[in-house]
């Protein structure tokens, strides 16, 4: 299967690469996370869903009643009859049936027009901006990594089920954990003394070699790992592959969310889970492909939200879905769209009042062909930090003061 943009971010931005990965960004076994069961402090849990590639917001939450929408996108626009209507002439992509049901139950909040000043249309740069929450100059720490720094730094508080650590979980002094999804049975003849031996730190070795050694120490903890969800679901090479230049390497979203569900229900101490879905960079023949991708977001996500509603710990879970940018208002000649700016953030779960929030950007008063943002993404982060993680947003967001409210 393919690797992901995320790895590219590691190399492009320097986030994680030098400090966090060498120092602490560690791969844990699921067992290590579950071993913290019962340790959870009271409080909510954040599940952050990253959509890599730049999801087209205008064909996700569709302003079908605005004549400018159909006019800008011949061949790409949905007819009013096709969209799953919400209210105010706005509807969801037909791929989002599960989320539409949740909206009807006032459990889905749609924040419209989320972006940042001077939008950057590079995937890599814009994703850095979202993950570091530093629009002027993306730094070397992720916003949830900085939260982790303030929350004591135990890597198990913030985890990802992807093979490499997403930059958003890299702090200055600590880093979240990656929990490899697959079962890591050891090859024949590889004994614990071998792993312990290779896993011992040696004086004077280079940081790269020290990290290579540390992987063996981590591997020791994986021995005897119970058959996990990824293995149960089986390997499906094609299901995860996306034929775009910014596809995904993470396990399929349903597997990632199943692991989250298991940890939450076991009462793991983890407060932040990072999951992702890639492949949204649809410069050509977008409509069918995006609808299929959104279905692959919708089904596991709606099922996860329903499952979480069924347990006490699950009712503490808040889900937030974002992408690095939306896309150009006007379709290109290839029935696709080029990189754009502001888009929607979706919020679900504990304490989230369903409905439409934020002002929908105008489709005619554009900034060089792109939407003007109406909500700064740091307002959304500030709300999540304060209301979900009980943190002080200003400390983590470089003094940022305003925040999204549900009123």
């Amino acid at each position: 299967m393919d690797m992901i943009t995320r790895r590219r971010f590691l190399t492009a931005s320097g986030v994680v690469a030098a400090g966090a990965l060498a120092a602490g960004g560690s791969a844990y076994a699921l067992r290590d996370i579950l071993a913290t069961a019962g340790d959870r402090e009271p409080g909510r849990i954040l599940v952050l869903v990253t959509l890599y590639g730049g999801n087209d917001g205008l064909n996700t939450v569709i302003p079908y009643a605005d004549p400018a929408y159909a006019a800008a996108r011949p061949g790409l626009a949905y007819e009013p009859g096709q969209v799953l209507a919400l209210e105010d002439g706005v509807g969801l992509n037909p791929g989002l049936k599960g989320l539409h049901t949740l909206y009807g139950e006032q459990r889905l909040a749609v924040v419209r027009g989320v972006g940042y000043p001077k939008p950057d249309r590079s995937h890599f740069r814009s994703m850095d901006i979202w993950q570091t929450a530093a629009p002027q100059r993306p730094g070397t720490t992720g916003w949830l990594g900085r939260w982790l720094d303030t929350a004591g730094g135990d890597p198990r508080l913030a985890i990802s089920f992807e093979p490499v650590l997403p930059p958003l979980l890299a702090g200055a002094t600590s880093a979240g954990a990656t929990v490899p999804g697959g079962a890591l049975t050891l090859p024949k003849g590889v004994t614990k003394p071998v792993l312990d031996g290779f896993g011992t730190a040696a004086a004077g070795e280079s940081p790269a070699q020290a990290r290579a050694a540390a992987c063996f120490a981590d591997l020791v903890r994986v021995q005897g790992l119970m058959t996990d969800v990824a293995a149960e679901a089986g390997e499906d090479d094609d299901a995860a592959g996306q034929a775009t230049a910014t596809g995904g390497q993470a396990p399929p979203l349903d597997q990632q969310l199943a692991l989250v569900a298991r940890c939450v229900e076991a009462g793991a101490a983890t407060r932040v889970y990072s999951v992702s879905l890639g492949g949204f960079d649809l410069h050509a023949d977008e409509k069918t492909a995006q609808e299929a991708l959104l279905t692959r977001l919708d089904r596991p996500l709606a099922a996860f939200v329903q499952r979480m509603a069924g347990t006490e710990a699950g009712r503490d879970v808040v889900v937030a879905v974002y992408s690095e940018f939306g896309r150009r208002v006007r379709a290109n000649a290839s029935d696709g769209t080029d990189h754009g700016t502001a888009s929607d953030v979706l919020l679900l779960g504990a304490g989230i009042q369903g409905g439409l929030y934020g002002e929908a950007p105008s489709l005619t008063d554009l900034d060089d062909g792109d939407l003007r943002y109406t909500v700064d993404f740091r307002d959304v982060y500030a709300m999540l930090l304060a209301d979900v993680l009980g943190a002080e947003p200003q400390r983590i967001l470089d003094g940022w003061r305003s925040r999204l409210t549900f009123s």
């Binding site: 190399t11 024949k188 290779f198 070795e205 070699q209 290109n332 290839s334």
Partner: protein, 429 residues
């Protein structure tokens, strides 16, 4: 550094994993002569495997015919990948490593291109122009059918330009973020309009009726541009040589950006060409201190092991060839399948519990194919085997912790060799 350590370091970086004999020869010949020798063949094209021209199944093809065409395309890609791996293992010089560098730089994936002949044609372009100045390379790549398909270039027309290729051309291939603006992306996309790929013929052609030849302002110059003048504008841009120097140093040097003095020396060499930059890099005062600090990419790890263990991959039965490809897949790097247009990661991102496990497993896979190397280890006295292993794998030395693990396995040469391949010392170079 001793002469031998200097030669080992240089060959580990510039080539796909030197053998002990190659290091001996290089230490005897000296750095200058060794550089002449490894850099000399750069620019020669290869005899590509003969593949039928690819192409979509005919219009109105039945489901079965379409399926057959897909299977045939997949089989061709496997053939091409194996051919390339065998060539990497067979070539002792710097040429194929540089071709692989450029493949990761102009990262194009067969997943979307869906044609082994087009992927090989692109690779041949990288091979032909990769050692020289970048002008001819950029000009050729802007006409490359695989790149055009990969970045939607054939969808980029006068009526509505598609920015994908123009943006990545400047961001990832020639200048880097911050050296161009959004207006340049739009102008660049217009300059690149009108190219069409004929999959069956393997060619790209400019269709005037789809091309926008109106004057644009691009990177501060106003006028009518074509792909050649656009390419020239890019390679003459003040950001281009520093960008390339950085990309080379990241892959061949320290894994991070070069210091200002090193960068200046590489930039000066760029006027002559990329192979001159490699020579400058390998003779840079900062180069020696980078030994052991760069994480091997999986292809480097695998091909290096194949060379050092003297495994003839072309002679392997089908299932063994599959095991080698499966190993690369598990480790996360398959040629012709980069993860995104940004290419493969560098450094610690390759080091995970999962990769440690797969290096243990595929160390065993490779050892099972390496009868000669196992015998050679067995011939050394038991007490000398750990040292002999370091020589075989061109590792400068073992740490005490690794030496202890290896000594415990010294009675079983095959197991010893597999553990050496999986060791932390062999994961870096």
């Amino acid at each position: 550094m001793t002469d031998r350590a200097t030669a080992s370091h240089l060959l580990r970086r510039l080539t796909f994993g030197p053998t002990a004999a190659e290091v001996d020869a290089a230490a005897r010949a000296g750095i200058g002569a060794t550089l002449d020798k490894v850099l000399e063949p750069i620019g020669r094209t290869a005899d590509l495997p003969g593949l039928e021209p690819g192409g979509p199944p005919p219009k109105g093809a039945s489901r079965e015919e379409k399926q057959k065409a897909r299977q045939a395309a997949r089989a061709q890609l496997t053939t091409a990948t194996r051919w390339w791996l065998a060539r990497m293992a067979a070539e002792p010089g710097a040429a194929e490593k540089l071709t692989f560098f450029w493949h990761g730089h102009w990262a194009t994936s067969a997943q979307k291109v869906r044609s082994a002949p087009l992927m090989l044609a692109q690779q041949q372009t990288l091979r032909r122009y990769g050692g020289g100045p970048t002008g001819p390379l950029v000009r050729a790549m802007l006409r490359d059918p695989a790149l055009i398909l990969w970045l939607d270039g054939q969808r980029n027309t006068r009526r509505a330009p598609n920015e994908n290729l123009a943006r990545e051309l400047m961001e990832l291939f020639t200048l880097g973020v911050g050296s161009y603006g959004e207006a340049d992306v739009k102008a660049g996309a217009r300059v690149l309009t009108g190219w069409q790929v004929d999959r069956a013929a393997g060619t790209a052609e400019l269709l005037p009726r789809r091309h926008d030849d109106a004057p644009v302002t691009l990177l501060g110059s106003t006028g009518r541009f074509d792909v050649d003048s656009y390419a020239d504008l890019l390679v003459r841009h003040p950001a281009h040589a520093p960008f390339l120097a950085q990309r080379l140093w990241v892959r061949y040097g320290s894994g991070a950006a070069p210091g200002p003095d090193t960068a200046a020396r590489l930039i000066a060499a760029s006027r002559t060409g990329t192979s001159a930059m490699l020579r400058a890099l390998a003779t840079d005062p900062a180069f020696a201190a980078t030994a052991g600090r760069l994480v091997k990419q999986p292809v480097e790890w695998m091909v290096g092991a194949v060379r050092q263990l003297r495994v003839d991959v072309t002679e392997l039965p089908e299932n063994k060839q599959q095991q080698i490809l499966a190993g690369l897949r598990a480790l996360g790097q398959v040629p012709f399948r980069p993860p995104s247009v940004g290419g493969w990661p560098v450094g610690a991102a390759w080091l995970t519990t999962s990769s440690a496990r797969f290096r243990l497993q595929h160390g065993q896979t490779l050892t099972a194919l390496a009868g000669g190397a196992v015998e050679e280890l067995a011939e050394a006295g038991r007490d000398d085997r750990v040292e002999a292993l370091a020589r075989l794998l061109v590792v400068d030395g073992w740490t005490d912790r690794t030496a202890a693990v290896l000594r415990a396995a010294a009675g079983e040469p095959r197991r010893l060799l597999a553990l050496g391949l999986a060791s932390p010392e062999y994961a870096v170079h």
